[in-house]
Amino acid sequence: MGQTPAPTGQTARLVISWLVVGIPLIYALYQTIRSILPLFGG
């Protein structure tokens, strides 16, 4: 159970899937942190 070999191409699918959701999140965090810098006098 859970130790069967992974289907072919699964690693690429994992990378692409996480990139599709990860890049917008990183973009959002960057933009928000940039906008909150005035709060700390930046």
Partner: protein
């Protein structure tokens, strides 16, 4: 329809070796898109000018969407469980994207009722179905870490607003060279184009979730996971309770009260965040906190809201769900008292207290599906979660009513000071205390509510063995 048969539950059972780490990005793809609902303020002023109407009339678009979220999550929960996550996510994507497209048509033709119907009603149905669609699947794939799994997905709902705000500003400035970022004024055509773009982009991103999501085969367990360890914990059941029966248990209504109280208290601060920080540091009629810094404070709270959803929910896997809510509500009471009596001592103290409070607010949302799993089992946990979300809709009305009611009685906006917030904050302390007691009263569900052998689905039956 044969072309849509790939959506059927039986076609979504994972083959051996399918990585469960494909499920969180599938869930995130849905929640990141529907989280846009909390970024409507970006184009609010543009719509007020375009339709030549009031802020209240435009605010109704958001209100309809949130009401429809609660209604569709509660009503469609059992259907979502029956058809499976892929069909539910596909339906959510169709409703959510259609909402934007109908809304765009309404803006382009100057018909506000079409925006109510599109973004509010149709999009709101997509919001509700989308919100609950991945929850029970995540819990089944991560029996060892349900808090981590639901935390990742529901964090996406908080992150969706963070993504949509700057993205919408950039798109509006692209579509309208005269776009004024300071006032949020853009032409109606630019907002219509924005809606059209978001509708198409969100549909495509949500399709990533549709194609990646799969349910585990009955009896599947992650490597190294020993269900016997879970069964040894008294607050985690191995039985299953149907959604209909769950409503008859005191546990459901106690948890409803817990969620209602946690959200009411948090929403009170979130809704008032920007004027609140300025009012707390007002001396002689002038605030020492600039408007830009107050806006930045709202952004900071959004980050803590999102981070709390992931961090606290993941922590609940180790310390247990009940102790986690003891922390949200108990420590929350202390933080609200400190905010009321010492919040105006320095901006750093104020920001720190508010940030932790909002992280508890976010954590309350993402920990609750795992709490439901612990109490009611996996059988219809998504449907039960859908019904529980009515607490969110109720808190969405109660929280702002409490804070605005007290503030209206104390004076005019722009003239309030820290002391004017104390009655509202102490009322929130009382609300949190009610939730704290409700959480302490939660015990395992009585055996008479459990489903008997052979009356649940194959996955739930296999989980009992």
């Amino acid at each position: 329809m044969a072309a849509l048969s790939f959506l059927d539950r039986e076609h979504t059972v994972a083959k051996p070796g399918y990585s469960r780490w494909l499920i969180p990005p599938a869930a995130l793809a849905i929640h990141l898109c529907i989280g846009q609902a909390y970024a409507t303020s970006v184009y609010k002023n543009a719509l007020v000018a375009h339709f030549d109407t009031s802020l209240t009339a435009i605010g109704i678009i958001f209100s309809i969407a949130i009401v429809m979220l609660g209604v569709s999550a509660a009503v469609m929960g059992t259907w979502v469980e029956r058809v499976g996550p892929r069909a539910a996510m596909f339906t959510a994507a169709c409703f959510w994207a259609s909402g934007f497209l109908i809304g765009a048509l309404g803006i382009a033709t100057g018909q506000l009722w079409l925006v109510y119907l599109g973004y509010g009603f149709v999009g709101g149905i997509g919001l509700g179905i989308g919100y609950i669609s991945p929850v029970s699947t995540l819990i089944k794939w991560f029996p060892d870490r349900p808090g981590l799994a639901t935390g990742m997905a529901i964090m996406g709902f908080g992150g969706g607003a963070l993504v949509a705000s700057p993205l919408s500003r950039q798109l509006m400035s692209l579509y309208d060279p005269n776009y004024d970022a300071a006032t949020g004024r853009a032409s109606g055509g630019a907002v219509a184009a924005l809606f059209l773009t978001l509708g198409i982009v969100y549909f495509l991103v949500m399709m990533l979730g549709v194609f990646n999501v799969k349910v585990p085969a009955p009896g599947w367990r992650p490597a190294g996971f020993d269900p016997a360890k879970l069964r040894a914990k008294p607050m985690i059941t191995r039985a299953n309770v149907s959604a209909a029966n769950a409503l008859r248990t005191p546990q459901f209504w106690l948890l409803w009260t817990v969620l209602f109280c946690n959200v009411t208290a948090g929403i009170g601060i979130l809704e008032q965040a920007s004027p609140m920080i300025q009012d707390f540091f007002r001396e002689g009629g002038t605030s020492t906190v600039a408007a830009t810094a107050a806006t930045a404070f709202v952004g900071l709270l959004s980050i803590f809201n999102m981070a709390g959803r992931f961090a606290w929910s993941s922590t609940s896997d180790f310390i247990g769900r009940k102790p986690t809510y003891v922390m949200y509500l108990g420590v929350g009471i202390v933080l609200y008292v400190l905010l009321a009596v010492a919040g105006n001592s320095s901006t750093a103290v104020f920001v720190l207290l508010a940030a932790v409070i909002i992280s508890f607010y976010g954590g309350g949302f993402s920990t609750v599906p795992a709490y439901l799993r612990d109490l009611f089992g996996t059988y219809q946990v998504g449907a039960i979660h859908g019904r529980l979300l009515t607490a969110w809709s109720a808190a969405g009305i109660a929280g702002p009513l409490i804070i605005n009611g007290f503030l209206d009685a104390r004076g005019e906006p722009g003239e309030l000071v820290a002391a004017d917030y104390r009655p509202a904050l102490f009322t929130m302390v009382g609300v949190l205390a009610v939730g704290f007691v409700a959480n302490l009263l939660i015990r395992p569900v009585a055996e008479r509510f459990h489903e008997t052998e052979g009356h649940t689905d194959a996955f739930a039956e296999a989980g009992k063995r």
